[in-house]
């Protein structure tokens, strides 16, 4: 290149007005080159007035990209210094080819970007919830897991807020203190805490650590946590299960102990009367005097009964404990129930001349669906105890109350005695099997020790309870509560059967005259009458019937069964004749028609002819008996 250059007019015009017309390039080796400003260069050197000033003053730092003709990219960093020379403003540019550096930097930046992307991906893929906060404990960043766990749409929902702003800690102070520590430089190790996430309390394990700025000062904290609620729930469940199993084992051991004790006691209780029976039997065998022997036999029998009671009680308890005891609940009248109790208790009460007060207002008429036998058993058990432990001439009060509840009623019995009472210590165990106070059995009688245990169980099965109050020397009060449902009254079974039996038995021995021509029919009637304890005589026709009746003494016969259709004389005529015999019993004796006709007209006929009843064939035994009962009892209305 020439060191001097002459511009043509055209070139000079073109270049006029531009601050940099020419560029003198000072090469690295110090040589200068004057290059006509090209477009590329011009655009690069299109600098402002300010820059021009700077160029003149300090030199202007420039970096320009230049795509060469061959397409090669050049990155030149240079310094352009402005000088006036030859009347022109010239800029000297010293430049350094920084193409390589440029690319290196760019690559570095690309790598960094890649690394940043990778890091972001990792942060947002990990399941651990990550967050970082500044020194004011404001959130400055969170990862995707964090957003997902809390259900945030975007990080903007949390960035810039504090925990207090979010209000999700059940124990905010603890939390605040812990983070303050971290921000002072302590790392908080992995720990379990609770957090409110989306309104539910969750278990989380978290760790936090401070992060530092370039100066080495704490600039904030980084934290991570994991929702471990599922794990902890399982842990808790297992712990609970363990506890349950432990308890069950304890219970089982305890029950086993009780069982062993019970067996021991039971065996002892059985052995005592058993020994008595054997001992007494042996002695009785040695006796010569039968009267003395009889006395021993009585004692043996008593021991036998006692033994049977114990065994029955043990069987009862066993059945109850095994869950096999079932209440037999049927409609029962409470009056009948209490009568049953009275029957048993009367002898005991009279024997000790005890004053017995009794008040069961409203109860005897009540009908409940309940287990009558068991309720009686319970009452007899408690009343017997009361009698046993009350002195002669003492007082026992037995009262009852019936109250209606929402879905049934409550029956409350109170048995109060003024006997020897019970100590506090004994009171605590009276419902346990075989508990008996150490009282003189000769005085108070021997019980099985199981009565109250069984009673309590039964009462509990009836959704009730037994409560006791007692004071030594003063007496005891037992309150029995039972729940049952009311029901409609039924005919008192006992009474019904008793009535029926009574009625039929009233026919016993009565004598009936049967007028029936056919021997088979006569036989049937005779069978039925004799089955019911009656006697009968057979007449083969109406005439014989009249004759037999007339020749018999007064009141020989209590009734006449008269067939209608008979040879010689029919039933209607025979009846008329009998009625006109002129004997008082002929007028009063009930005459019942027997007929194979069931027509209303026949019945009317019978009535008109002086007959009192009508039985049609085939003979209904029950009807016949009923008819006889009615007519023979009442006698005939004249």
């Amino acid at each position: 290149m020439n060191s001097a250059y002459h511009f043509s007019e055209k070139e000079a015009n073109e270049l006029r007005g531009f601050p940099a017309l020419l560029a003198i390039f000072e090469n690295v080796d110090g040589t200068e080159e004057l290059i006509l400003a090209s477009d590329a260069l011009l655009s690069v050197l299109h600098i402002s007035k300010e820059q021009e000033k700077e160029a003149f003053r300090d030199g202007l730092k420039l970096t320009f990209h230049w795509r060469g003709a061959n397409g090669k990219e050049l990155v030149l960093a240079g310094k352009s210094v402005g000088r006036k020379r030859m009347g022109h403003v010239l800029f000297y540019v010293t430049y350094v080819d920084e193409t390589a550096l440029y690319h290196e930097i760019r690559k570095g930046r690309e790598c960094e970007e890649l690394r940043n992307n990778m890091l972001e991906k990792v942060l947002n893929t990990t399941q651990a919830c990550l967050f970082w906060k500044d020194l004011d404990r404001k959130f400055i960043g969170v990862n995707q897991a964090f957003l997902d766990t809390y259900g945030f749409e975007s990080a903007e929902d949390i960035i810039g807020k504090t925990d207090e702003d979010m209000g999700w800690h059940p124990y905010p102070e603890e939390f605040y203190d812990a983070e303050a520590k971290v921000l002072r430089g302590e790392t908080m190790k992995l720990g379990h805490t609770k957090n409110m996430i989306r309104g539910k309390e969750k278990d989380i394990v978290a760790s936090k650590a401070p992060f530092y700025d370039e100066k080495g000062e704490v600039a904030g904290l980084v934290g991570s946590f994991l929702d471990v609620t599922v794990l902890y729930d399982e842990k808790r469940r297992n712990a609970a299960l363990n506890r349950e199993l432990q308890n069950a084992l304890e219970d089982s051991r305890h029950a086993n102990n009780l069982l062993t004790q019970f067996l021991s006691r039971a065996s002892h209780e059985i052995r005592t009367p058993m020994n008595a029976i054997i001992g007494l039997s042996e002695i009785a065998l040695e006796q010569n005097d039968p009267d003395v022997s009889v006395d021993y036999f009585r004692k043996i029998a008593a021991s036998g009964h006692y033994l049977l009671n114990i065994i029955n009680d043990i069987l009862d308890i066993n059945k109850i404990e095994a869950g096999n005891m079932v209440l037999v609940e049927k409609p029962a009248n409470l009056g009948e129930l209490l009568e049953g109790v009275e029957v048993i208790m009367d002898p005991q009460i009279s024997a000790k001349n005890i004053k017995y007060e009794y008040d069961m207002e409203g109860i005897p008429d009540a009908w409940l669906i309940c287990d009558r036998q068991r309720i009686q058993q319970i009452l007899i058990n408690i009343l017997s105890n009361a009698v046993k432990f009350t002195e002669c001439n003492g007082r026992i009060r037995f009262t009852g109350k019936l109250a209606d509840e929402a879905d049934g009623c409550v029956l409350t019995f109170t048995i109060a005695d003024e006997g020897c009472g019970m100590s506090k210590e004994f009171l605590a165990r009276i419902f346990k099997p075989f508990s008996q106070e150490n009282r003189d059995p000769a005085k108070y009688g021997a019980g099985t020790g199981l009565g109250l245990t069984i009673s309590k169980r039964f009462v509990q099965m009836m959704k009730g309870d037994i409560c006791v109050e007692s004071e030594e020397g003063k007496g005891s009060t037992f309150t029995v509560t039972i729940r049952a449902k009311r029901c409609k009254p039924e005919k008192l079974k006992v009474k019904e059967l008793a009535e029926e039996a009574q009625e039929v038995s009233s026919l016993k021995g009565k004598r009936i005259l049967v007028a029936e021509d056919n021997s088979i029919n006569a036989e049937v009637v005779q069978m039925v009458l004799m089955m019911n304890g009656m006697e009968c005589d057979i007449a083969r026709n109406g005439r014989d019937a009249v004759e037999i009746f007339a020749s018999a003494q007064q009141h020989t016969y209590d009734a006449i069964l008269m067939d209608i259709q008979m040879p010689m004389m029919g039933g209607f005529e025979a009846t008329q004749r009998i009625r006109h015999l002129g004997r008082p019993d002929a007028k009063t004796i009930p005459i019942i028609a027997l007929s194979a006709d069931a027509f209303a007209s026949t019945q009317r006929h019978a009535e008109e002819n002086g007959m009192d009843g009508f039985i049609s064939k085939p003979i209904d035994r029950k009807l016949l008996i009923k008819c006889l009962i009615e007519l023979v009892q009442e006698g005939r209305e004249i």
Partner: protein
């Protein structure tokens, strides 16, 4: 043939037992039926045209069969009885009589089998 078989064919054992609850007694009564002459009386009466006599015989037969719960034959006997009640002649009854007789005879042969069986 057992008592139950007899009644399964001819009537109702349970109803009979309700009146006379003894199988032995029932069997004895049935035995008496073999000696019973009422059917013969009825036949004779119808043959001779004696309405009142026939009526009584039919009525008695009906009653007996009712008492023994021999329901099938009893119904036929009842039909004959009604045909004779206040009837002017035995004509209607005479028509029904052979049916009754046939059923009665069938029943008697069952009865003979029952009684014969127990006799052996």
């Amino acid at each position: 043939m057992t008592l139950k078989d007899f009644y399964d064919k001819n009537g109702s054992l349970s109803s009979m037992m309700a009146t006379i609850p003894s199988e032995a007694a029932i069997q004895r009564l049935l035995g008496m039926l073999l000696q019973d002459q009422t059917m013969e009386e009825l036949k004779r009466a119808v043959a001779s045209g004696d309405v009142p006599l026939a009526f009584r015989a039919a009525h008695t037969l009906k009653g007996t069969l009712m008492n023994l719960q021999i329901t099938g034959v009893q119904k036929k006997a009842s039909d004959v009885t009604e045909a004779l009640r206040n009837a002017s002649s035995v004509e209607d009854a005479a028509v029904l009589l052979p049916v009754l007789e046939e059923d009665y005879n069938d029943m008697i042969s069952d009865l003979k089998e029952l009684v014969g069986g127990s006799a052996s």
